[in-house]
Every structure is written in structure tokens, then in C-alpha cells.
Amino acid sequence: MNIAKIPLGDWVERFEDWLTGHFGPLFDVIRLIIQGIVDAFSFVLMSVPALALIVLIAALAYWIGKWKLALFALIGLLLIQNLGLWEPSMQSLALVLTASLISIVFGVPIGILCARSNGVRNVVTPILDFMQTMPAFVYLLPAVSFFSLGVVPGVIASIIFAIPPTIRLTNLGIRQVPADLAEAADAFGSTPSQKLFKLQLPLAMPSIMAGINQTIMLALSMVVISSMIGAQGVGAYVYRAVTQAKTGVGFEAGIAIVIMAILLDRLTQHAFKKKS
């Protein structure tokens, strides 16, 4: 017996059309908001002279970390500047910061909801698995059809890929608060939100911070893919280098991404440690 192919692809496309048809204005609003955030970050990062910003970041690294980190920041960022990649790097950074910010703003509350209810967790977990394993190229296409080309679909794709660790580790951190401490909070008559803010979140903070750190790293790893749909930045240099087989250009841009990654990672980690 010959079973007909299930027209899964058709269904998805029809669903996509339906969404674009009915929710066009909503997508426009989202696009404007995200574009606004990216522009704000870009404006701040680029209106400061490169050298001033480099010194500022190195000082920040010295304050929250060690002189070694400050030295690395100074040398690494000067190298980016020297290679002529400062402006695209800052564009990419604006994209990463936007995606991370939105991921945190939505990820932490969703993680808290997951920790409070097994029902919510059981729904959210498979969605997160889906988001993390579905190849990014696949959801770039609908992102473009909803938000058109440019940095916004890049931000959306980055969020989809980068938000799961924040949600997962917020949920985990809260669930790992020892049962007798939660009992003690209840026994003294805490409201649910007093328990959350006075006990669960403070104790879950290291775990939440680890999640946020992962989210930032994953967002950064999306800059090249985002450039395929028109996001400007250092990712676009890599992408162009690949398509034109220019190893040297690709390597230079790659180094810039690595330097930003290491800096973001160390800075966030040390900042969280210093805080706790």
C-alpha cells in the first residue's frame, strides 16, 4: 500500500501566510521596537570615539576583574580597531546586546513560571528543545517574511537560539533551593512573591547568571548567520569572505568575533562573581 506523503511543508507555509496576513501590523510594531533598541545600542557604542571606548572597557575590566583581563581588553580591542573592523564589530555588538537583553527580559520570568508549575515546565521544555535543535537557517526564512531583511530578523533568530539557557537555568536554580528553606519561608507567612524575591531568586542567582552568560555567548555565535539575511556587522565580513574565498579577510573578522566573545564571557562572569 502506498501512503501519500504528509504535506507538512505545505501546512507550514500556509500557516506562515496566515500569520503574515493576519498579524502584519503586530510584526511591524515588534520590528520597530527591536530596531529602536538596536539603534540605541549602536548610537551609544558608535558616538563614543573608539579609543575612548576602548579605554573605558579596559577600565571596566580592571574594576570588575583583574589587570590581566584589562590588558587583554586593551590589546584585543586595539587590534580590532587596527584591522579596521571597529564599526562592524560595534554593529554586531549592538545586535548581540539587543538579543541578550530581550532574552533576559522574557527568559527569567518564563523560567520562574516553569519553576512554579510542572505543567508550564512540561509545555516549555519541548519547545526549548525544538528551538535549540532546529537548524537556524530554517527559521531565518519565516523571520524574514515576518520582519523583512535587516538586523531585526537577525535579532529574532538570535533570541530563538539564545533564550533557552536563561529559561532552563532560572528554572533549575529556583528548583534547587533546598526544600526546608522554602518550607521555612512558608512557615513564617511569606507571600509567594516574598518567597520568590527574598529567598528563591537570591539563591538561584548564580545559576541564573550562568544561564545569562550562556545566552550572551549563543547570541554572539549567531552574528554570522544573521548576516545572511542582511544584518550588518562583522558577521557580514565573515560571510562575504566565505562566499568570495578570501581566507585573510575571513580570519581577521573571525578574530574580532573571538575577542568580543572572550571579553563578553569574562566580563559577565566576573561581574556576577563580584556581585555575589
Binding site: 533546598p178 518550607e183 521555612a184 512557615a187 513564617f188 507567612g189 511569606s190 507571600t191 527574598k198 539563591l203
Partner: protein, 398 residues
């Protein structure tokens, strides 16, 4: 009136508690229900009343349901059926907001593993119960400091819990439980995690605190020695059922069933019974009545010694039959012939504290209280018979 009255309180863990409850009401046992429905009867129709100001100990081995029972009293565990009346109000029927008020104002708790908040200082831990009530910072800090003083931890306010020893951590737990001045304090195996010496100190301190503060305390333990030492009354639990409620003496001397009996058998009676438990009534005489009356009294009551006491029953000394005869012959007063160096113990001394004294002396040991009044007398036979587990004589007064 009882401050807390528990009626038919039942907890069933499982998928369909109503079904198990119906079976329970038809007389099914815990084992039957487990076998048939895979549900566990945690507490089975507990019924008791706790009086204001008493230390009520709930005792049982692990799995006996004592911890579940305790947690139902402030609804950390929701009861399946039954009533908990706090000054007449049913706690089970309280709305979440009412329950919070009850937890904030009326019922505190101390936990087995302390359950201190590691991210807060000692003072902030003690403040917690007041903080969630919305009390302003200055006032709650003042109350928290007072509570810390009460448990002897002034000067440690700004340490973190993990900088403190186990005993000190539990003092913080105790201070936290006392800070909002609740009517009832629940203590869940509060001293079980401490080593034996510290544990004994804490028991002692709890009793001292109790004598000052007159809280109603519900204390859970699996240790009979502890239960006997601190409990005004003890409820013994087995398989979710309260098998006996009584004073320590009632439990020891009159175990309600073989289960309690077995529990009690292992008790080292010498650490439980005090001088007051085993003393007999002492035969006494006032000094001015003279040797002739003394000898007559000895013959009448068939004893060979008399205790000489003044009008306030304060012990002056002891006369033997020989001494009384000598006084009669040589025309001396009782005070001139009596033995003033009488071996004595306090009424609350444990047997094991005066074994040695008993062994060293030929004379019976006098039981004398803090005001030097003679309360009774202990003879060797009574000690041996008490240790052998025989009936304890009626406590006698002089």
C-alpha cells in the same frame, strides 16, 4: 482552655485520598490501604488538645507520621480530613490570607536542619518573620536583637549562618522562631542534628527559656530520653496513629500497649527517674520534743532513724535509736546527740547522679529542696527496685 485542639486529623498521601479515607472510616488498616490502593496513610485520626504553656512532645520512630502531623498544624502539609482548632478557630478552613496571618503571628517553627537562609546574616535571618509582616526595619531589628540576646547570641548579628557551629545555628533558628513572639512554637526534631553534649545543653536551655516565656511548644523527637526530659506530656505515635498520650511518668509506669512497653524497656531509668520519684515519706521530729518521744515514735513507725526538722520543716539533722537512748541516759537534748552531717540530694537529681553517695553511706539519704526543707528519704532498696522497673512508691512529702 486548650490553645490547640486537634480532632480526627488525617493525612493520606496518594492519588485519590477520598477513596482511602472512606476505607479508613470503614475500619481498614494502614497496611490494607497501602496494599489495595498504593496510598499511604500518613496520620490516622489524630486527636489531642494542647494546653497553653505546656511542652507537648510528639514521639515516634521515623515513618510514624510525627513530622506530617506537626506540619499539618501550620498547614505546610494540607490535611486530608479533620480539624485543627486554634483558640476555637479551624485552621483547616482558613483562606490563604488568614493562614499567612496565623503563621506570622501565632505559630512559629524551628527546623531539624536549621533551615537558615544562607544569603542573609544572622540578624537578617531572625528578622525574616517580622520583615514579611511589613514591620519597619528599625523596629524589627530591635526585636530580632532581643531574640538573639535571649538565646545568648549577642555579638554574632552580622555573621553568616555558615560561620557558626551547629549548636549556634540552631540558636539562630530558635531566635527566628521566637522573634515574632508566636503563641505556639513548633520544633521539628530541633536538636537531632546536634551532637549529644550540645543537644543536652540545648534541651536545658529550652526548658529555661520556657520557664521565662511560657510558650506553648510542640516538640517532635524520635528520642525517648529527650521526650522524657523536656515533655510535660508525650504523645507516642506508631504507623500514623497516636497510641498513648500522657505525662512522662504515666508513659513509663503504665505503658498503654506492647509497642509503648518496648519503647520504654530500653530507657535507662537511672537517667529518667529523679530523687523525687523514688523517695519515701520521712519520719520527722521537732528537736524540743526530746529523746523519750523520739524512741516512742521509732517503735510506733518501726524505723531506726528520725529526721530532726524545725517548724519550717528545714532539716537540722538525724537521730538514730542508739543516739536517742544515749541522750535519755545522759540527759542530753536531741540537738546534742543528732548527726548533723546527713547525706542529702536535691529532689530533681537523677538517680545516676547519686549512686555513689548511696554506696558510700550507711545512712538513708535525705531529699532536701533549695529552701533546705526536707521532702523525703531514699533508701537503698527503693533505688534497686526502681532500676529493676518495679513500681515506684508514691512520692512522699515530709
Amino acid at each position: 482552655m486548650a490553645i490547640l485542639e486537634v480532632k480526627q486529623l488525617t493525612k493520606i498521601f496518594g492519588q485519590d485520598p477520598k477513596r482511602a479515607l472512606a476505607m479508613l472510616n470503614q475500619g481498614a488498616s494502614k497496611a490494607d490501604i497501602l496494599k489495595e490502593t498504593k496510598m499511604t496513610v500518613g496520620v490516622n485520626k489524630a486527636e489531642f488538645a494542647i494546653e497553653e504553656g505546656e511542652i507537648f512532645v510528639i514521639m515516634g520512630l521515623s515513618g510514624s507520621g510525627k513530622s506530617t502531623l506537626l506540619r499539618m498544624l501550620n498547614r505546610l502539609i494540607e490535611p486530608t480530613a479533620g480539624q485543627i482548632l486554634f483558640n476555637g478557630t479551624d485552621v483547616v478552613k482558613m483562606t490563604p490570607a488568614q493562614l499567612r496571618q496565623y503563621r506570622r503571628k501565632n505559630i512559629g517553627m524551628v527546623f531539624q536542619k536549621f533551615a537558615l537562609f544562607p544569603h542573609r546574616t544572622v540578624l537578617e535571618n531572625v528578622e525574616y518573620g517580622l520583615e514579611v509582616q511589613g514591620m519597619e526595619k528599625k523596629k524589627r531589628q530591635e526585636l530580632a536583637r532581643k531574640a538573639l540576646q535571649l538565646v545568648g547570641l549577642e555579638g554574632w548579628e552580622h555573621k553568616r549562618p555558615d560561620e557558626l557551629s551547629g549548636g549556634m545555628q540552631q540558636r539562630v533558628g530558635l531566635a527566628r522562631g521566637l522573634a515574632n513572639d508566636p503563641d505556639i512554637l513548633l520544633m521539628d526534631e530541633a536538636f537531632s542534628a546536634l551532637d549529644p553534649l550540645i543537644r543536652k545543653d540545648m534541651q536545658h536551655e529550652l526548658l529555661e527559656l520556657q520557664s521565662k516565656m511560657k510558650k506553648t511548644i510542640v516538640f517532635i523527637t524520635h528520642d525517648l530520653d529527650e521526650a522524657l526530659r523536656i515533655g510535660d506530656r508525650i504523645a507516642l505515635m506508631k504507623d500514623g496513629v497516636i497510641v498513648q498520650i500522657g505525662t512522662p511518668e504515666e508513659i513509663l509506669t503504665n505503658p498503654a500497649d506492647p509497642y509503648v512497653q518496648r519503647f520504654v524497656e530500653d530507657v535507662d531509668m537511672s537517667k529518667v527517674l529523679t530523687a523525687a520519684h523514688i523517695m519515701y515519706k520521712a519520719e520527722t521530729i521537732a528537736p524540743e520534743r526530746g529523746p523519750r518521744v523520739a524512741l516512742q515514735l521509732m517503735r510506733d513507725s518501726e524505723v531506726s532513724t528520725l529526721y530532726v526538722v524545725d517548724k519550717e520543716k528545714r532539716l537540722l539533722g538525724l537521730v538514730t535509736a542508739d543516739a536517742a537512748s544515749r541522750a535519755l541516759k545522759e540527759n542530753l537534748s536531741l540537738e546534742e546527740v543528732m548527726e548533723r552531717n546527713v547525706p542529702r540530694v536535691k529532689p530533681d537529681a537523677y538517680l545516676n547522679e547519686f549512686f555513689e553517695l548511696m554506696a558510700e553511706t550507711r545512712l538513708p539519704v535525705a531529699v532536701v529542696d533549695d529552701e533546705l526543707k526536707l521532702r523525703g528519704v531514699i533508701i537503698k532498696g527503693a533505688v534497686l527496685s526502681a532500676l529493676a522497673g518495679n513500681t515506684i512508691p508514691e512520692a512522699g512529702g515530709a
